[in-house]
């Protein structure tokens, strides 16, 4: 039997079932849950199988229009297969987690769209034909829209905005693909890769920028990121964990790698700077905005943007270690960000609100959520020995290597700037997670949340799996690098050695440090005498229970700093939002046209007369 046949099964089985689920009447909820679970298990199993089998190909001629050959070409290449395995894994985890989520309106559309997402992502990662890649890409966009709409009454704006913005980038994608086709004469990626398009003249550069737009919009990098926080606020958290946090990153960065490595050869120094600038700006700006957020989900969404910056920056370095670091960071980010969103979702579900002001002290009530969230938070902040540290470390190495290497490019000369942004961004990430952990899990428990309980095992399960992956991939980082990432990028294991980071020893030392610190704390707590008295404020005595420091204002000093304050208010009002600005422009044009359409018959007759004159002028050649 030809093993290549399992490729289309993995793509079209979830798509077909998902499509049918969308139209099922609302009464049969059980069926859609069961089907979604079964299919996602099958998809995960097939994903692992495909990765273990190595190179597989499948082709099926679909259409021949003119000289355009639309052939379904699926092939499992190392990079795609490795990402595929993880993508299917995320799909399964989220399906499991969703079974117990109550905040979903319209269950059938939700599970149908989850399956469409799974099938579509598989299609993107396996597709070797650019047009099919685009088709699957748009299916994932459409299913994100459907998923956001299941968030209830207020999600309609977020869904519309997301679809409009990603739809715009999909349009750019289509144009870009066709320009690549016009330049290289084929849609097949592996054919293009034999003689990539050199970005030396304007048409290839435009094509590159169009494809770049598609990749960074999906991944959520500046300046086309604004759909992400809006949907973060209103969509069900499981949706955010699945798409914007995990799969959209995998797909967007996958596309970026394909563009940079297989479709184009970057010959223009300016493009390198553009790419690195997008990366660095995304890291810093998004994290600055994240610091001052009051809403748990929105804060996480801004971090989901900020982390993309590291991946883009890593790819922009063009060095093997930088690209490997970017891919590794993509995987790590998907893991911890997914975990963070799931924790956030658990908190919101049990406490009934995602507002940091109203949360607090949940650490004791929800210990598993707390621990997993803490691990993921340390990971995202780049604290050793967790996985986020390793990949960030690799990206730093990549930047330094680019700066010190002999290659003279614009981006290479500016390396200290990129480096500073990356480091500083990491510090700010830590700062903002200190705020999150404090105000959700540590500070005093509000009266209303006394009865909060831990979520069900179906929900803690995925969180535990993801948190343990954070630890595992951090300590044994050699494993994923050696088995997944170096083969996927054709890097000789020896060439990409970076720093001397002995994770085993360092972990032992860290653990020892923590134990010693704990001992010191315990001793000092025991030996010191503490007196607890009510708080006395201006003659009023207040009970200690009322004294809460919620943590939402930790960084108020930053946001009220001169210069920054104006920027923050502008951001809050949407002045820097591409969606709002282009919407305003479009409406202005519409208003003008409406003014022309006055509804008065003689005016319309005048138009007809003018039109007639123009037509006669052109047809009868009266000039």
């Amino acid at each position: 039997m030809n093993l290549g046949k399992i490729l289309p099964i993995l793509v079209f089985l979830p798509l077909a079932v998902g499509f049918v689920l969308l139209f099922l009447p609302n009464k049969i909820k059980f069926l859609s849950k069961a089907l979604a679970l079964i299919i996602s298990v099958i998809a995960f199993a097939l994903g692992i199988r495909i990765f273990s089998l190595g190179q597989l190909d499948y082709s099926f001629p679909v259409l021949q229009i003119g000289n355009v050959n639309l052939e379904l070409l699926l092939s499992a290449k190392p990079l795609g297969a490795f990402i595929l395995m993880f993508a299917m894994g995320f799909g399964l985890l989220i399906t499991l987690y969703s079974l117990k989520v109550h905040a979903i309106h319209n269950t059938n559309i939700y599970y149908g769209a989850i399956l469409l997402t799974i099938g579509g992502s598989a299609g993107i990662l396996l597709s070797n034909h650019l047009l099919f890649l685009l088709i699957f890409w748009e299916m994932v966009t459409a299913s994100l829209y459907l998923l956001i709409t299941t968030g209830g009454k207020n999600s309609n704006f977020a869904a519309t905005k997301s679809f409009a913005m990603i739809g715009a980038s999909d349009a750019a994608f289509l144009l870009g693909i066709l320009m690549v086709w016009a330049l290289s004469g084929t849609f097949v990626i592996s054919e293009i890769a034999k003689g990539p398009v050199a970005t030396t003249s304007s048409i290839p550069i435009i094509a590159f920028l169009l494809l770049l737009t598609a990749a960074i919009t999906k991944a959520g990098a500046l300046p086309l990121h604004t759909w992400l926080p809006t949907s973060g606020e209103y969509a069900p958290v499981s949706v955010m964990a699945l798409l914007p946090a995990a799969l959209d990153k995998l797909l967007g960065i996958y596309l970026l790698v394909i563009i940079v490595r297989e479709i184009f050869v970057l010959k223009s120094a300016a493009l390198g700077v553009v790419l690195a600038f997008i990366g660095a700006a995304t890291i810093i700006i998004a994290v600055m905005v994240a610091m001052v957020q009051h809403n748990l989900k929105k804060l996480l969404s801004y971090h989901a943007i900020s982390q993309v910056g590291y991946m883009v920056l890593g790819i922009a370095t063009g060095t093997p270690v930088g690209i490997a670091g970017a891919i590794f960071h993509m995987l790590n980010n998907a893991i911890y960000k997914c975990c963070l969103f799931l924790c956030g979702g658990a908190v919101e579900q049990q406490a009934g609100t995602p507002e940091l002001d109203k949360l607090g002290g949940l650490g004791k009530k929800m210990p598993i959520t707390f621990i997993t969230c803490l691990i993921a938070a340390l990971s995202i902040s780049g604290i050793p020995p967790f996985n986020g540290f390793v990949s960030k470390w690799m990206v730093y190495q990549g930047i330094i290597q680019m700066g010190t290497s002999a290659q003279a490019g614009g981006a290479a000369k500016l390396w200290p700037i990129w480096f500073t942004c990356a480091m500083f961004g990491s510090a700010l990430t830590l700062a903002s997670f200190v705020k999150l952990i404090h105000s959700t899990f540590l500070s005093r428990l509000p009266e209303e949340l006394k009865d909060v309980k831990e979520v069900s095992p179906l929900q803690t399960g995925p969180m535990i799996v993801l948190a343990s992956l954070c630890v595992f991939l951090g300590i044994f980082y050699h494993v994923p690098l050696k088995y997944f990432i170096y083969p996927a990028l054709d890097i000789e294991p020896g060439t990409a050695i970076f720093g001397t980071w002995a994770s085993g020893l360092a972990t032992l030392l860290l653990v020892a440090g923590i134990i010693i610190g704990g001992l010191i704390l315990a001793v000092s707590l025991l030996s010191r005498k503490v007196r607890i008295v009510p708080t006395w404020t201006c003659g009023e005595v207040q009970t200690n229970d009322q004294m809460r420091i919620s943590g939402t204002h930790f960084y108020k000093t930053v946001s009220s700093m001169g210069g920054l304050r104006q920027l923050y208010t502008g951001q809050e009002k949407g002045h820097f939002d591409t969606y709002n600005q282009s919407g305003r422009l479009g409406l202005a044009l519409t208003e003008f046209l409406r003014w022309l359409h006055s509804g008065i018959l003689p005016v319309y007759l005048t138009w007809v007369t003018l039109g007639l004159l123009i037509v006669l002028f052109i047809v009868c050649k009266i000039w």
């Binding site: 969308l22 139209f23 009447p25 609302n26 259409l63 229009i65 003119g66 000289n67 355009v68 319209n106 047009l131 685009l134 088709i135 748009e138 299916m139 459409a142 709409t149 009454k153 999600s155 309609n156 704006f157 869904a159 519309t160 679809f163 409009a164 739809g167 715009a168 349009a171 750019a172 289509l174 144009l175 066709l178 320009m179 086709w181 016009a182 048409i203 479009g586 409406l587 044009l589 519409t590 208003e591 046209l593 409406r594 359409h597 509804g599 018959l601 005016v603 319309y604 007759l605 138009w607 007809v608 003018l610 039109g611 007639l612 037509v615 006669l616 052109i618 047809v619 009868c620 050649k621």
Partner: protein
């Protein structure tokens, strides 16, 4: 099976004059008869796919007699007309219960169908005009069918502008007759080929373009459409937007420009420009609308622009002596979009009718959260929106893809960019529809509404299935029998005359 061509006109015409006999008592009989007529037309249209022949009325051979010509382009249009009219007629069974004078409605409807079929089949330019007037007059009456203030105003505007278009066409027909001595399209074409164009004929060509442009609602001749299409009852809006503007406008224009006069650089550019301007103006106007049917009407202007763009681009490539395969691709895109638009726009108007019947309003701001109350309408409307916005794998994606590929291939990158941009605008306007109609909060006064049942659902669901499946028309077998002959008619241009006279 070879279908006698006059049947396409005779069935609806005879039924139309028969129906008023049933008056008030026999409403049910009249409805059944009218549906039988449209269904039989659908069957005949499907049976005549891939055939081409000439029928001489009364055995009077041309140029003395009148002839009916069935070729690829006609049979494509016949198919589109019969699909849309069958669905709209079936939808009317339940929808028209809110109106009186059922028999009159049905006979006007069938008169319109007879007129359109006649336009498509006519091989004679004066008969084309006559059938065009039959269809137009029926549509003026149907737009004002509600007899409300708005409907009558819209109908009046439509009638004034439509009559101006008809007069231009009639004037052009007279000029052509005076200059070539024939009314038969094949003979006119032959005369033009042998004698060349004189100023009178070019003037006639200009008048034809404006006249048919008025019927096709090309910008700037579109002003009647946004009033007329929303005012008509929903199934009629579906007919008008779905098929009438294409038959009376796009088809007739393409026939005259390509087959009679022969495409030239100037006319090619003109059609392409009309297409692009229409796409942009229609899309931007549609954004700003808060009346559901008005939004759909402006979107029709934008979508007809796509069809014109495809045909115009193909014509331009032919006129430049470019690669004929590229021209065929562009025209294929245009014609495929014509068929797709006929299906999904009529579906959208039918769903708007279903929404209006349930909620009693067309204003987007007065609706919201209808997804739970009207699940089938929501599903079908979403499918149609996805199709018109060009989301794969729905039908609209494929036709737009072909158009984009054709324009990139011919080197018109900017045209490709405009197509993609307008496609994005279309996506955004239908997201607006979804957002305000089906998502969000259900207003207090709409808590009690229920889904419509019966014939309306059947019509909507079957058109929605077509939207999903129409991408399959591109598969080699179906493409060869449906689109290839139609594309060939336009690409072959003036050799139409030789084909018809030789047949």
């Amino acid at each position: 099976m070879s279908v006698p061509l006059p049947v396409f006109v005779a069935i609806p015409l005879v039924t139309a004059f028969l129906l008023p006999v049933f008056a008030k008592r026999g409403k049910a009989v009249a409805t059944v008869l009218a549906n039988l007529a449209t269904i039989s037309l659908l069957v005949l249209a499907i049976a005549s796919i891939g055939q081409s022949r000439v029928y001489e009325v009364g055995r009077w051979s041309i140029p003395l007699g009148i002839n009916l010509v069935l070729d690829g382009l006609s049979s494509l249009l016949l198919l589109a007309i019969s699909v849309v009219s069958t669905a709209a007629m079936f939808f009317s069974i339940r929808y028209m219960e809110q109106y009186t004078a059922r028999a009159k409605y049905l006979s006007l409807f069938l008169l319109m169908v007879a007129g359109m079929n006649g336009v498509v089949l006519s091989g004679d330019i004066f008969n084309l005009f006559v059938f065009l007037e039959i269809a137009s007059l029926a549509s003026y009456a149907l737009v004002g069918f509600g007899c409300g203030h708005e409907e009558l105003e819209a109908s009046f505007k439509y009638m004034v502008l439509g009559s101006i278009g008809s007069i231009f066409i009639l004037f052009a027909v007279a000029l052509v007759y005076g200059n070539t001595g024939s009314l038969n399209m094949a003979y006119i074409s032959e005369a033009i080929q042998s004698n060349g164009l004189n100023p009178g004929l070019t003037f006639a060509l200009g008048l034809f373009i404006v006249g048919f442009g008025l019927k096709a609602a090309l910008v700037p001749f579109h002003a009647w459409l946004p009033d007329a299409h929303p005012s008509a009852p929903a199934p009629i809006s579906a007919m008008l937007s779905g098929i009438l503007i294409k038959t009376l406008g796009v088809y007739a224009l393409a026939r005259v420009v390509f087959n009679i006069f022969g495409i030239s650089l100037a006319t090619g550019w003109l059609l392409l420009t009309f297409g692009i301007v229409g796409m942009l103006v229609g899309a931007f106007m549609a954004f700003g609308q808060w009346d559901l049917k008005r939004l759909l009407a402006y979107s029709s202007i934008s979508q007809v622009g796509y069809v014109m763009l495809g045909i115009g681009l193909g014509g331009l490539i032919i006129a430049k002596d470019g690669n004929l395969a590229w021209a065929s691709l562009a025209i294929l895109g245009g014609l495929f979009h014509l068929l797709n638009h006929a299906v999904y726009k009529s579906l959208l108007f039918l769903t708007s009718g279903s929404i209006q019947m349930s909620t009693g309003t067309r204003q987007l701001r007065e609706m919201g959260g209808l997804a739970e109350k009207l699940p089938v309408t929501r599903a079908t409307c979403t499918v149609a929106s996805a199709a018109i916005a060009g989301i794969p794998p729905f039908s609209g994606f494929w036709s737009k893809l072909i158009l984009v590929i054709a324009s990139v291939q011919a080197g018109y990158y900017w045209v490709a960019a405009i197509i993609v941009f307008v496609s994005l605008c279309t996506l955004i306007m239908y997201l607006k529809v979804q957002r305000y109609v089906f998502l969000g909060e259900l207003p207090e006064n709409l808590q009690e509404i229920t889904e419509n049942r019966g014939s309306m659902l059947v019509a909507m669901v079957s058109l929605a299935c077509l939207c999903v499946l129409m991408g399959l028309l591109l598969t080699p077998g179906l493409r060869a029998s449906i689109f290839a002959p139609a594309v060939k008619v336009l690409v072959d241009g003036v050799s139409y005359s030789a084909n018809v006279i030789g047949m």
